[in-house]
Symmetry: C2
Subunit: 338 residues, 2 copies
Amino acid sequence: MAEPLTPVTLADVAQVAGVSKMTVSNVINNKPSMSNETRQRVQRALEATGYVVNPAARALAGRRSNLIGVLTPRVNWPFVTEVLHGASVAAEAAGLNLGIFTTANNPTLERERATLLRTLADGVLLVAPSADEEHIFGQAVPVVTLGAHGQRSIQVDNHTGAAIATRHLLGLGHRRIAHLRGKHSHILDAAQREAGFLATMQAAGQAVPPEYLQDGEFSEEGGERAARVLLTLPEPPTAIFAANDRSAIGALRAAHALGLRVPQDLSLVGFDDIHATSVTDPPLTTVRQPLEKMGETAARLLIDLIRGTEPAQSHVIFPATLVTRASTAPPRADRGSS
Amino acid sequence: MAEPLTPVTLADVAQVAGVSKMTVSNVINNKPSMSNETRQRVQRALEATGYVVNPAARALAGRRSNLIGVLTPRVNWPFVTEVLHGASVAAEAAGLNLGIFTTANNPTLERERATLLRTLADGVLLVAPSADEEHIFGQAVPVVTLGAHGQRSIQVDNHTGAAIATRHLLGLGHRRIAHLRGKHSHILDAAQREAGFLATMQAAGQAVPPEYLQDGEFSEEGGERAARVLLTLPEPPTAIFAANDRSAIGALRAAHALGLRVPQDLSLVGFDDIHATSVTDPPLTTVRQPLEKMGETAARLLIDLIRGTEPAQSHVIFPATLVTRASTAPPRADRGSS
DNA sequence: GTAAAGGTGTATACCGGTAAAGTAACAGGC
DNA sequence: GCCTGTTACTTTACCGGTATACACCTTTAC
């Protein structure tokens, strides 16, 4: 089984086994109705020649490549890596390969990669898309979105998650609560979290001044910048609810830089429960999304679609839970009143 | 140009433009020798039909898919993400797509993904392989390795980098210096770093007791475990040189847990200069690898190989530089002598 | 004993592109 | 006017698989 210079094709195997190409193909794909003897003969020939399929040919001829494509802006966002891990587990269990393609939020790249996946992949997982990119794929290939967009999507209950976080802060006695928004113009999840925050504040009879809504942009830098603005207001908030953990970590950094202690001078709640929140100083109270499980569910839903078994539900909403760590506490007496 | 239900093929475009398939193909691929008028007519037909190429067909017929495959154990190691970013820039500049495939250090997955890439990709980038996986690809496809393995590789000067780190600690007055090793049995880079450390210590006339070499396993957990062993020795080291930043961060955690202050009670040097080292407490002194640039160089080398232009060199070794932050200081007077 | 049914394997026609060879028309050299 | 060269396309033959239809041999039904 030394490395053959010319790739081995079905025809080569067929010749060695003394059968037709089709028979070899049928053995490889576990088609029924063939004698055990033939099957074994072909198996031996496969091993003797060291045959490997050509996915391109298979995709062209049979419209299936055993490949799931993941389209995501970046791979180094903790959110994405945890989802990927879950998806990868599900794909492996189903015997499918998983290929990751990054768009860097660049529309040109997005189109290009999407074009590639349209014909190359059996299904596409859209992770944390910046908008509804699903339409690029049309009917060409099934798509499942991780986030609040899309025809078929897996998401967390953003509204309730935000409400839990807000109620937690209210319950500690905070009244001056600010929110670091995500990119709500593009990302539906961000809008849902903001809405959950505002609804809860309103239900509690708490007004939210407009300057208490700042754009944290879902990033560490954005969070730091926005938190600086909030904390240098004439009447700064005593608590901040950030739309994701990365912006919360930025806010934490801003607080430290301004000499504020967390949680004594400022309470802070994030969203996502990425790994880093457990190792910040202090560890961050946050709203947990079961990211790995969501990735796994998304992949399984996609696999169902690929296999043609119409799945029971096309939108799955996972519950959000509060993880209480050390970044939240009652407000100091001299700052707590509104 | 609404979403066509049946994908548009070359033949469709050819019919609309009133030319042959080949002419359309030639226009798409910018072949010379065709009249401007025909070119424009085809262009119009392309736009009118909304044609997109079928990469699978192209790969099959033309034995080129415009895809670079990246094979890596995981995507959430900072080392990997930084390299990926560089590679992605180079690929984009060359008009190639980049697909990432993870192996999770699972030999079965490794083989499977490699098999896929053999025929799917025009070239493969092996990032941080756990061993010499290059042979899997044989002659089927050009391979460039990021690390000390392989026929064509991009790596940092591990030996000198380790020497610089060690000399830095020696220069501060440390004599009892320990090393957190990487998985030197599998990863050549780890072995080279260890050798650089030992050679420098020997050149300085400093003996390294065997218990001062502990396995940090390139991971945070491993680093923490190994550092605990070191720091609870009867004669603990006053400084630790870790084979990578992740194990250094683990050591930092162990030191904190044992009530040791860094750098007053323990000096710590890492390797890689990943982003996290600048935000730990204290920020970590480390040996910098220009990871992004290395990724870019690797991709460019691979692209040269794909294009058939035999590149000038098949091994590129980047210099390592010391980044001095706050985790190193002279040893305390009562602990510094050996 | 013949027909229908079932199991097993083969022949053929594609999938949607590309490479390579072929053709037609025209220009220029001598 | 003939040959050679060039330009601008077209024709043909694949790339390596899969779907479909069908051919062959037994077995079973009546």
